[in-house]
Subunit: 206 residues, 2 copies
Amino acid sequence: MKQGPGLLFVVSGPSGAGKDTLVDALLARSPQLRYSVSATTREPRPGEIEGQHYFFLTREEFERRREAGAFLEWRDYNGNLYGTPRDYVEQTVAEGYDVIMKPEVNGALAVQRAYPAAVLIFLVPDRFSYLGERLLARRTETNEEIAHRLEIAHQEMEFIRSFDYIVINEQHRSEEAVEDLAAVLHAERFRIHRYTDDRLRSVEHT
Amino acid sequence: MKQGPGLLFVVSGPSGAGKDTLVDALLARSPQLRYSVSATTREPRPGEIEGQHYFFLTREEFERRREAGAFLEWRDYNGNLYGTPRDYVEQTVAEGYDVIMKPEVNGALAVQRAYPAAVLIFLVPDRFSYLGERLLARRTETNEEIAHRLEIAHQEMEFIRSFDYIVINEQHRSEEAVEDLAAVLHAERFRIHRYTDDRLRSVEHT
């Protein structure tokens, strides 16, 4: 019964909520979990491996696939195109692995439209002041840039209701947030709507 | 954010699925979890404590409260009345504790109607043969009684779709089922619909 296809988890939220650290921690502890590999038109950097870090595509090939609906979401960042290939997700899930990705909020909502079975988790820092502090701690942005980011973060909050879960990443308690996320990943497979009628019948008649 | 009211969890399923053992194991490991104390018209047995094992009521008082809608579900068993007091659940949940109960399937569905925020978990043994074996192992029932119980169990299965989760209690792997249930209890508090608009605003504006 516990076999069967995996699930797609989408972790998003305001910048600085700690997505990267938490998703890395989940991947490190969950052999059943795979990171969604993105496609990109940017040049490979030294050490980057095709199919592991990215699928590297020419712009022409990326656009052709995009028109064919091959991406769950895509975006233009710094003049390069990035996208989430639907076939990678579908194959990996069919093999029984769960897949996790961490797009921006707009990307998460696009994934939800393209792949309604996806489970969307909104990750928030405990306080916006904390978010501001983390961005300040990066020391790479001006106060104006930070104010702009906070404004965007507030806008992103309006989309929370489209998500399935909210997990709070409290300062100095990220192990707790990892446990919270792990519980969501664990529990989701038992939700009744994950069971097709055929799977339910197999429960009834074995 | 993690404070706030608790949740009501209803664990049900066919007889012999192992509800008692698993719910006891959950209560032993979760200080935040309380067992729902039932009301009954039967006589207290030696050692039974009012308000801990049961709320002991006269039949007259039980019926008066039942008419007043004081029970989330009730049933007549062996000539005695048993019911789940709504006020105990509501008070305990308001104090921030989660509450767990393990009624029969019909009782679980009655609780869902009376308390729509309840989380219903359907617990099934891995195989019906296993269910038969467990009932046989009790050595207190005739084969005819067992066949009747299995028939009822099959009927109960038809109600599965009304539940929120299915958890399988596989033979010799009940620790796994405890982990599965614990993950459901843990994850449910992060579901987006647990957040009132006020709580969401507190996330946005703190």
